[in-house]
């Protein structure tokens, strides 16, 4: 079980967080993206072994949306940051 350093709550157990998707799946600019762009990001993934920036939600905590730079084999975490320019979510 990972220990994830939430920028708001501090270190918390992974059970409090939900993984949402790889950052490859996030829109660059949702408003203006095209159909092919949407389908490419919605469907296809590099899925390589190594560090990936992923979107997680601290659903069992403060609710923030977080970008977590995490290794998908060792589970090492290099960084955790709010997903939108320092703006954070919250349920």
């Amino acid at each position: 079980m990972h220990l994830i350093e939430c920028p708001w709550c501090g270190p918390r157990a992974q059970v409090e967080f939900t993984y949402h998707c790889d950052s490859e799946g996030l829109p660059r600019d949702w408003e203006s993206e095209h159909e092919t762009e949407l389908h490419e990001r919605m469907l296809n993934r590099t899925n390589a072994i190594g560090f990936h920036v992923e979107l997680w939600n601290h659903a069992g905590g403060c609710g923030s949306w977080l970008l977590i730079d995490r290794h998908n084999r060792t589970h090492d975490i290099r960084s955790v940051a709010y997903a939108c320019n320092g703006r954070s979510g919250g349920k």
Partner: protein, 175 residues
Amino acid sequence: MTLAGATEFETPCGATAVVDAGFRMLEIAAWGNDPGAIEMLARTLALPPPLHPGRATGNDLMQLFPAAPRRWWLRSDHDVTPLPDIDGLAVTEMSDGQVCVRLHGDTARDWLAQYCPMDLRPRSFGTGQVAWTLFSELRVLLHCVDSNAFDMYLGSSFAEDIIAHCLTARTRTRT
């Protein structure tokens, strides 16, 4: 289960549980990024600054819980006068949706540690701190009101079930 006012239970773990449903709770959410809005609200309500993440601030009338970014809960045991309309803040009534379970006693912390994965040691979560965390798989707001007393806020629909937990669970501390 009808909850009116405060009901007290002795739990088998040795802690006392007081179930309280007779308070006022408002959720205040900022839709922008302006930190000034909540500070203005705090000033208007005469709540002592500063507003540290995870640290409750309050006076005799009310308590403000900054437990999530851009989102606060305001608890009052008295009827709060209508909140000033401050631009940038959405104020939503939550009172009937929440039940507060106050756990009190030397075993309260150990009992909570049976269900909450967060670090509850006094140096990590001491008096005055508030945090959203999980209780079993349920998201709750925890408030450490004293070295051996915790308020746990949970959705009303779960209350009966969770209180049943409190009444049946027991703890063996320092085995």
